[in-house]
């Protein structure tokens, strides 16, 4: 048993998920690769989006991977931090906007 839930070296073993189910893994990785290719969005923009999403899902593997990826694709520190703020703003905003629901319910229940 590992003594922590997350092991940095496990990131390199991501592809090993195929050991327990090759067909779906193959489909997934093919799709995954295609998603990150240059397209209407550049590979750098996609890396920055992935970096923001990684912070939203708070996945340490993804944060490591897409920090490296963003650097490799030529993103600056400023761009990377702005991406994290976008994630953070959406997370904060999505909590706060539910405040309207709370207010509505409060009004429903109140005299």
């Amino acid at each position: 048993m590992a003594d922590t839930y997350y092991q940095p070296e496990d990131l390199k073993k991501f592809k090993d998920v195929a050991d327990f189910g090759p067909e779906l893994a193959e489909k997934f990785f093919e799709y995954y690769g295609a998603v990150f290719e240059e397209g209407a969005l550049s590979a750098r923009e996609k890396a920055l989006i992935a970096l923001a999403v990684s912070h939203t899902v708070q996945c340490p593997y993804c944060i490591d991977a897409y920090t490296t990826e963003s650097l490799e694709k030529g993103a600056s520190e400023e761009q990377m931090m702005e991406a994290v703020h976008v994630a953070s703003a959406i997370r904060g905003g999505s909590s706060l906007v539910h405040g309207v629901q709370m207010m509505n319910k409060t009004k429903d229940l109140s005299m």
């Binding site: 390199k12 240059e38 550049s42 590979a43 750098r44 490296t68 650097l71 490799e72 694709k73 030529g74 600056s76 520190e77 400023e78």
Partner: protein, 350 residues
């Protein structure tokens, strides 16, 4: 002033120790595949030249800068510079050589006292001349400030280092103030036509990662640099070459000190690309050291690995036929040339 590893008598200034680190430093490095075996899998072993197109001369390790990643361990405290006699021997060799390009590197090649004389002589031979400039040197003393015009007069291609399109990352790698000076030099070069369409004056930039990561694809990176430099400073240039940092000398020191060595080597090995191996630059380049010793490339030069014994080992013994038949000497550092899209002094190789 930051001192070179050599002046510090640092362990890593010993090439034999560097090779030992790359091969044996830890279990995970020992477990990595050997470059030789990878070449065998690709049917490229023994590695042979395809000819000599580029005649690269390292005219000295003296430099006005002391960048953290420098594979030459160059700096103001280095005293090794090519003598006039060796330059003459290079001209002799070049006279009947098939090589089309003379590539001048260092240190800061401009600091060699015979630099201008040699450029004049080499251009008479009708060879294309490339100078690898760190840019900042062109903003220092008046004799260096006047060099852009001299380059233009002789149609010299200027290939210069700019690790990033912003100040913080550039200065972290190359020293405080580098970015501003580089921009000033680029604007000067642009001012006399370098990098401008139709001028025939070629200005290329070299991007290399400021840390333990690989360079991204060359083409999109070039677009990003062009957009950013034009928007921020009105700078134009021709091509961007993406170069992978090879794990030797000061970059190796950084990898060790930052605890990144194992992961970086693993990245390089995992990213081994057979097509990039086909195109490694040692196959069409010869590297001449400041003392006239011949090497397969500038990296082998720094690792004190001259061309194999059966080949002529000094510029005074130049024999192109024999050099073309030599076997190129390789070691684990070579994985830096074959990762991803490949890396050479002319950027990606695939």
């Amino acid at each position: 002033m930051i001192k070179s590893l050599k002046t510090q008598s640092h362990k890593l200034s010993d090439p034999a120790y560097q090779l030992q680190v790359l091969n044996n430093y830890s279990e995970s490095l020992r477990d990595l595949p050997r470059f030789r075996d990878k070449l065998k899998e690709t049917d490229l072993f023994p590695l042979k030249p395809t000819g000599i197109e580029i005649f690269q001369m390292n005219v000295g390790y003296m430099c006005n800068m002391t960048c953290k990643h420098c594979h030459v361990d160059a700096g103001p405290d280095r005293r090794e510079v090519m003598k006039k006699e060796t330059f003459r021997q290079c001209l002799e060799a070049l006279r009947d050589s098939e090589a089309t390009t003379v590539d001048l590197t260092g240190g800061a090649p401009e600091m060699n006292p015979h630099f201008k004389w040699f450029v004049e002589e080499a251009s008479k031979l009708g060879k294309e001349i490339t100078v690898r400039s760190n840019l900042t040197i062109l903003t220092t003393a008046p004799k260096y400030r006047a060099l852009p015009e001299f380059f233009a007069k002789h149609g010299v291609e200027v290939t210069c280092s700019l690790p990033f399109y912003n100040k913080s990352r550039t200065d972290r790698q190359r020293g405080e103030g580098t970015y501003e000076k580089s921009i000033e030099a680029l604007q000067k070069l642009n001012g006399i036509g370098y990098g401008r369409e139709g001028s025939g004056l070629e200005l290329n930039l070299v991007y290399n990662p400021a840390g333990a990561f690989l360079p991204g694809e060359q083409e999109p990176m070039e677009q990003t640099f062009k957009r950013q430099l034009s928007r921020k400073h009105g700078i134009v240039f021709n091509k961007l070459f993406t170069i992978t940092n090879l794990p030797i000398s000061r970059f190796l020191n950084f990898l060790l000190e930052s605890g990144n060595l194992e992961d970086y080597m693993d990245r390089l090995v995992t990213a081994y690309n057979p097509a990039a191996a086909q195109g490694v630059m040692c196959r069409n380049t010869i590297s001449v050291g400041w003392d006239g010793t011949l090497y397969d490339c500038d990296f082998n030069q720094m690792l004190d690995m001259p061309v194999e014994e059966d080949a002529p080992r000094h510029i005074s013994e130049w024999n192109e036929l024999k050099l073309n038949n030599r076997t190129i000497r390789i070691n684990q550092h070579c994985f830096g040339c074959t990762a991803g899209a490949g890396s050479s002094c002319g950027g990606a190789t695939t």
